[in-house]
C-alpha cells in the first residue's frame, strides 16, 4: 500500500452545506457529496493538499494531522 500523507482533510458535516465546491477542486477525486447531505472525504485518496479547505464557502473543512 502506498504511503499515506501526514495530513488529511476533515469535514464538519454538521455545518456542511453540500454545495460540492470541494469536490470540484479536489485533484484526487477524493470527495463526494453523500446523498446531497454533506461532503465525505475518502481518507485513502486524500493527500492533505488543502485545496478543498481553501474553496469551502462555509469554511467547514480543516486539514489536520492524521491520527
Amino acid at each position: 500500500m502506498a504511503m499515506q500523507s501526514k495530513r488529511h482533510a476533515v469535514v464538519d458535516t454538521s455545518l456542511c452545506v453540500a454545495c460540492g465546491a470541494c469536490m470540484e477542486v479536489c485533484p484526487r477525486g477524493a470527495i463526494t457529496v453523500w446523498k446531497g447531505s454533506y461532503s465525505v472525504v475518502d481518507d485513502a485518496l486524500c493527500i492533505g493538499c488543502g485545496l478543498c479547505a481553501r474553496e469551502c464557502p462555509a469554511s467547514v473543512i480543516r486539514v489536520e494531522d492524521r491520527p
Partner: protein, 197 residues
C-alpha cells in the same frame, strides 16, 4: 490545473439569461429552470447534483471568484453560516416568492395594473419598461418582472459575497440550496431506516 468539464461553462447561461431579460422580460420565465431542476434532483434522486455541477450561478461565482481571482477568500462571518440565518433566509425568500405570486394573481384578476419595474432587494424599483413589448398576457409579464427581480437580486447578493468572502459564499445561504439539502437529508434519513429495518 484540473481539466474543465462542459458544465464549468454553464456560467454562460447566467449571463445570457440576464442579457435576454434586459431586452425582453418574458425570457425571465426561463429562470424557473433554476427552481425546478434542483428540486427534481433532490426529490427524484435524493442528491444535490444541481448544486454540485449544473448550477449556472455556482459556476459563475466559481469562474469569477476562483478562476479570475476576484474573491478575497475570507471566511464568511459565523452568523452567515449559521442554521438560523440559512433557514431564516429560506423562509424570507419563500414569503417574498409568494408575495410575487400574489402580485401576479392581482394582475391576472384585474385588481391591479402591470408594473413594468424590476425590484431590487425587494424595495428598490428600477424602471424596466423597455423590455416589455406586449405579446403576452399582462399577468405573464408581471410574473416575468417578478422572477427577474428575484434572480437579479440574488445574483447581486451572490457576487457581493463572492467578492467579500469565498467564491461560492452564496451557496451557503442560497435558498434553493438550503431547501434541497433539507429534502436530501430527510430522504437520506428515511433510506437509512429502510436499510436497518
Amino acid at each position: 490545473m484540473k481539466k474543465s468539464h462542459w458544465y464549468n461553462y454553464l456560467w454562460i447561461w447566467a449571463v445570457v439569461y440576464f442579457a435576454m431579460g434586459f431586452f425582453n422580460i418574458l425570457f425571465a420565465w426561463l429562470g424557473l429552470i433554476d427552481f425546478f431542476l434542483p428540486l427534481i434532483f433532490a426529490v427524484g434522486f435524493g442528491n444535490k447534483g444541481f448544486c454540485n455541477r449544473y448550477c449556472d450561478r455556482g459556476q459563475l461565482l466559481r469562474a469569477l471568484g476562483s478562476q479570475k481571482g476576484f474573491s478575497r477568500r475570507k471566511d464568511a462571518p459565523d452568523w452567515m453560516k449559521s442554521r438560523a440565518f440559512r433557514y431564516g433566509f429560506l423562509v424570507f425568500f419563500l414569503v417574498m416568492f409568494m408575495n410575487m405570486l400574489y402580485a401576479t394573481y392581482q394582475v391576472f384578476a384585474g385588481a391591479s395594473n402591470l408594473r413594468e419595474v424590476v425590484t431590487l432587494f425587494w424595495t428598490i424599483h428600477v424602471p424596466w419598461e423597455w423590455a416589455y413589448h406586449g405579446g403576452a398576457a399582462p399577468w405573464a409579464a408581471q410574473f416575468a418582472f417578478g422572477l427577474y427581480s428575484i434572480m437579479l437580486t440574488s445574483a447581486i447578493l451572490g457576487i457581493l459575497t463572492m467578492l467579500a468572502y469565498k467564491p461560492r459564499s452564496w451557496c451557503v445561504y442560497c435558498p434553493m440550496g438550503t431547501m434541497t439539502q433539507l429534502i436530501c437529508r430527510a430522504k437520506a434519513g428515511t433510506r437509512e431506516e429502510e436499510k436497518t429495518s
